[in-house]
């Protein structure tokens, strides 16, 4: 990005110090990351992001379109992405469910794009204005077939901005859809934020093919596992299909080996780099006998609770998952080896709890602490459960 373009974005936003909602921060982050196409459909509590994008994108030469539904929104952003334009959509639970087929399509065709899910209470229409963390497993397994997904979870408005930029960078780097799994609480709460300086953050753009046109094989990476697929309109005549395809892009549905190679590669390009992708925040883990593992809005209460209990002398620590998928297996497994008990508070009936349990095995006891209905866990809730189920047992 040129300084001029950055300046235009800051001018469009208005100020560098703002008191803003999460929903706004996703938009600011997207623009700063180079997003120039947005397609979406109104849905509580994500509509504010679409409205802001509709206002800001035209000011910096980007395109906004409200599509007829969420399926169409995903289609449009994938279409924009294959021409080389960074694109994004935003939705909540019911829309996220509709988007699953196209998320799978984007994985299979290795098309970068960012999907923000501002989670609300479900299932079905549920409580439209209440937050939840109920789509965490759907983020990983929502579409059919085998694929990998990258999903990040912010716990503050500033982090919402920063992680949105990170989503775009990861999406471009790995040529895969990346999800920002946020929630209605972070989406609608306001906090002081700072728009980063021009030199204060990084932008990653997808790699272009280096090979000559005659040697161009779109789905055969020049090195590593991420292919260099040319943008449409540059003379490479790339065929992209959701069908199982050979490295040249053409369909090959009756070949088990080709399918295995393709699907394995598109999964491994992410799992091989899991250590590079995964981000967590550790607090007081060195001597912790009890560990609370949480993410998103819940972590605000959990961290507060852990700090209070530490002051009271409890050997307790906290692990905040910033990357939800790929799941930080190794880190959680290590915690299981040193801690005796692990508490997993979530605004759902227990979702990432299962991944924690799987990573920990029999090494420690994993206890879930679900809370649904839209009210957040308070620090006191978490302290009480810890005392009841762990300390005083």
């Amino acid at each position: 990005m040129e300084q001029g373009e950055y300046n235009r974005i800051v001018k469009a936003i208005g100020k560098k110090q703002l008191f803003a909602q999460g929903d706004e921060a996703y938009a600011y982050g997207a623009l700063l990351a180079g997003c120039r196409f947005f397609a979406g459909y109104p849905i509580t509590p994500a509509t504010e992001t679409a409205e802001l994008m509709s206002k800001l994108l035209p000011l910096i030469g980007g395109t906004f379109i409200q599509m007829e539904d969420e399926i169409a929104s995903m289609g449009a952003i994938i279409g924009a992405s294959v021409t080389g334009v960074k694109s994004m959509t935003v939705t909540s639970g019911p829309g996220f469910s509709l988007m699953q087929e196209h998320i799978g399509y984007a994985c299979m065709t290795e098309t970068p794009c960012v999907v923000v899910d501002v989670q609300r209470s479900g299932p079905s229409t549920g409580q439209p204005t209440e937050p939840s963390q109920g789509d965490i497993m759907q983020a990983r397994w929502g579409s059919h077939g085998d694929y990998e997904i990258i999903a990040l979870a912010p716990n503050s408005v500033q982090e919402s901005l920063e992680l949105t930029i990170e989503c775009f960078n990861l999406s471009e780097k790995y040529r895969n859809p990346v999800l920002l799994m946020t929630d209605g609480e972070v989406g609608h709460m306001r906090e002081g934020i700072t728009i980063p300086d021009f030199a204060g953050y990084n932008i990653f753009d997808r790699e272009k093919p280096q090979k000559d046109l005659k040697d161009y094989t779109p789905f055969l990476p020049e090195q590593g596992k991420v292919p260099q697929i040319a943008d449409f309109g540059c003379g490479y005549h790339t065929y992209i299909t959701g069908l199982t395809h050979k490295p040249d892009g053409l369909p090959a549905t009756d070949d088990a080996e080709i399918h295995t190679q393709l699907v394995t590669r598109i999964c491994q390009k992410i799992t091989d780099d899991a250590d590079k992708i995964i981000k967590v925040e550790e607090l007081f883990l060195e001597d912790a006998e009890t560990v609370v593992i949480s993410y998103g809005i819940t972590s605000r209460a959990a961290i507060n609770a852990v700090k209070i209990l530490r002051e009271q002398g409890e050997k307790i620590g906290h692990l905040r998952l910033i990357t939800i998928w790929p799941f930080p297996e190794k880190i959680v497994c290590k915690i299981g080896e040193s801690a005796k008990k692990i508490l997993v508070p979530e605004m759902n009936l227990g979702q990432i709890y299962h991944s924690v349990k799987e990573a920990v095995g029999y090494n420690a006891e994993v206890i879930k602490f679900p809370k649904i209905g839209g009210t957040l866990h308070t620090p006191q809730d978490i302290i009480e459960v810890l005392k009841e189920k762990i300390f005083n047992v």
Binding site: T129, H188, A301, N304
Partner: protein, 179 residues
């Protein structure tokens, strides 16, 4: 220092805007602030609540646990939100819209004052003036700037007038000892 503020009333009274302005003013004062809200589906009527947490350190838990300052601009809001308060919480109510039996309640005719200025709808600005003066949770300068920058241009003067009236009411009350 962590101050928890809850402002509640009917939808349409500007309760959420008031919380937003308070949060912005706190940021202007170089403090940390988080503002959240809840409301029903109705555009008018129903219940609306804004929570603001102001601190000089990074804020972990973003919601009100036990409010230090509670403002209630409607009876249902008072009944709902003025129970879980600390012993020495400051409770501020609109004297015409809320009946409170508690002693330590600051009862102020926000809506009446706004009416005398010509627009009942700026009652929340009167309230912010009174809130600022009585608790000093934000500075006058910050609140002024915030109001100026965040209300429709043609209403800036009216809102600022309402804000000053709120401050005046507190000052008069202090002088009289009725506080």
């Amino acid at each position: 220092m962590r101050t928890e503020i809850s402002i509640s009333g009917f939808g349409g009274q500007g309760v959420i805007l008031a919380g937003l302005l308070l949060g912005k003013a706190a940021i202007n004062d170089d403090k940390y602030a988080v503002q959240t809200q809840s409301y029903g589906p109705e555009s008018r009527g129903g219940a609306a609540r804004s929570e603001v947490v102001i601190s000089d350190q990074k804020i972990d838990y973003p919601k009100v646990i036990e409010a230090d300052i509670v403002v209630a601009l409607s009876q249902p809001a008072f009944d709902k939100y003025c129970r879980d308060v600390k012993e020495n919480s400051t409770i501020i109510i609109d004297s015409d819209l809320v009946k409170a039996l508690e002693n330590k309640v600051y009862s102020v005719p926000f809506t009446k004052i706004a009416d005398t200025l010509g627009k009942k709808v700026v009652a929340n600005s009167v309230m912010l003036g009174y809130l600022q003066a009585s608790t000093e949770v934000v500075t006058v300068e910050s609140m002024e700037t915030t109001i100026r920058e965040n209300v429709p241009e043609h209403t800036i003067e009216l809102n600022l007038e309402a804000f000053y009236q709120g401050i005046e009411f507190w000052k008069k009350g202090k002088k009289n000892g009725t506080g």
